[in-house]
Amino acid sequence: MTAELSESARFVGLAAREIMDGQVCFVGIGVPSLAAMAAKRHHAPDMVLVYESGAVDSDPPVPPLSTGSPTVVANTSMVTSCLGVFAMLQQGYLDRGLLSAAQVDRFGNLNSTVIGDYAKPKVRMVGSGGAHDIALLAREVIIMMPHDPRRFVPEVDFITSPGLWSGEKGPEGRRPRGRGPTCLMTPRARFTFAAGELTLDALADGVGEDEALEGIRWEVPRASTVRRLPPIEPKLAAIATELVESWGAAL
């Protein structure tokens, strides 16, 4: 592992690698934005960042605090309405949705609505925003979560944004337009949903399996061969570090 790379910068670097050149990505705030910006600056110059505020093909000079921040429009090809970008999403033009949430479960369901019971919540959070829409309508979803075991639960308190489509909670005959979550990144590891649930796929450089799963309260299946991810390249590490520093908070 690159000794001087912070956990946040490594997280951004690992997540950035999941974003390929030429893809059209619907980007949320926080790690998703930082990862998309890092990918664009490092290996994906023709990737198109779309923000729900209406910025299309954005290339923010500094990481945005909100989807409608000035930096989102400071260097963008198109400003349209929210309807304009959600229309592109519903048409199927968004290759990737990059999401984070307060809680994730073994099926990739995401919760950003309440901790506790919906009618009498312990903590009332911000709600879906565009996350539910992105989860259903992006061609593929990448989930980005810090390694915080409290946020990995066997079953989320409230399914704001559905993960793997079980059909149980969905109306008859409905299927999401996209594939749903295909990958979940933490600063320590890469997971897939290959086994029909969260599955350990690969470890970050220098991280052991125990560390990657530390504190997670259920037995997470492992791929038949758990791969080892190469160290973050120096150039990507430098870009990720700069972005994390200008973001100004831990991820």
Binding site: G54, L65, F86, G170
Partner: protein, 298 residues
């Protein structure tokens, strides 16, 4: 024609009654804080606030006791965290919530603006969001048989919006991100607009594609420079990120928050007086971060 260019006090008094369903414009930028302050000064009650992504303007009006219900896709302090006054109100059972998604809210407003009773969509399927608090119905495409979700049109009583320019006829112009402002304004029965600058009819007509709401749909237009602070206005001033962070601390404490609202809003006569109480040099710094120079555009 009745005079549309009036003071904000009069506009709120005429067009925002207790119990009104109010669409709040702005997304990131152009969030109508000056109008929210005036609503607080006039002690409006039982308002239903709606929009897609709602920021701390909602938290402020909830803290001031003006709100009965919120209808939204997101309600928080963008980039900072939770909306604490809202959170307290929900956890104490003092406020009603409809949890939509941002896309669904935009579609509901667009249906209202289109003059149709609903729109079909491929979102709102699966998980708990469709069943928790909202009224949606399954609908089958009469042409293809595809199962979809119908979301009902939303027709707010009044939209409060902020823009860069307007003329005295009420034609409102906006630069930068519109978010859901256009759909929300056109879905609403009345529109109350505040703007940074009142310009001549000729100036409006020199760039008519920038008009987002035509004068005949606007009930009142008010000249309120800095009327979107602490959000930003493209071409006029940058976002006061520090104020959003400060709100996070302030709003955690219900008592301190009430004292702040009393001192900075209830006991000042109008929005200009609130601006004068801000830290010296702040407005100059924000004006320097105004983004594009709209004076050189046409």
């Amino acid at each position: 024609m009745t005079k549309k260019l009036i003071g904000l006090k009069e506009a709120v008094s005429l067009y925002i009654p207790d119990g009104a369903t109010v669409f709040v414009g702005g997304f990131g930028q152009c969030i109508p804080f000056a109008t929210a302050h005036e609503i607080i000064r006039q002690q409006r009650k039982d308002l239903v606030l709606c929009r897609s992504g709602a920021d701390i303007l909602f938290d402020l009006l909830i803290a001031a006791g003006c709100v009965r219900k919120v209808v939204f896709g997101y309600l928080g302090n963008p980039g900072v965290g939770l909306a604490h006054a809202y959170r307290r109100a929900v956890e104490a059972g003092e406020i009603e919530t409809e949890d939509w998604t941002n896309f669904a809210m935009v579609l509901r407003l667009h249906a209202g603006a289109l003059g149709v009773p609903f729109l079909p969509t491929a979102t709102l399927a699966g998980g708990d969001t469709p069943n928790a608090s909202i009224d949606i119905r399954p609908v089958t495409c009469p042409f293809t048989g595809e199962p979809l979700t119908a979301v009902p049109a939303l027709r707010p009583d009044v939209a409060i919006i902020h823009g860069q320019f307007a003329d005295e006829d009420g034609n409102v112009q906006m630069y930068g991100l519109p978010g859901d402002t256009v759909d929300g304004a056109l879905a609403s029965e009345n529109v109350v607009a505040t703007v940074e600058r009142i310009v001549s009819r000729e100036e409006i007509r020199s760039r008519p594609e920038r008009t987002i709401v035509p004068g005949f749909r606007v009930a009142a237009v008010c000249h309120v420079p800095w009327g979107a602070h602490p959000s930003y206005v493209e071409g006029f001033y940058g976002r006061d990120d520090a104020a959003y962070s400060a709100w996070d601390q302030l709003a955690r404490d219900a008592k301190k928050l009430t004292e702040w609202i009393d001192a900075e809003i209830r006991r000042v006569p109008e929005f200009g007086a609130y601006l004068k109480r801000l830290e010296p040099g702040l407005l100059e710094a924000l004006a320097a971060a105004r983004g594009r120079n709209l004076e050189t555009l046409s």
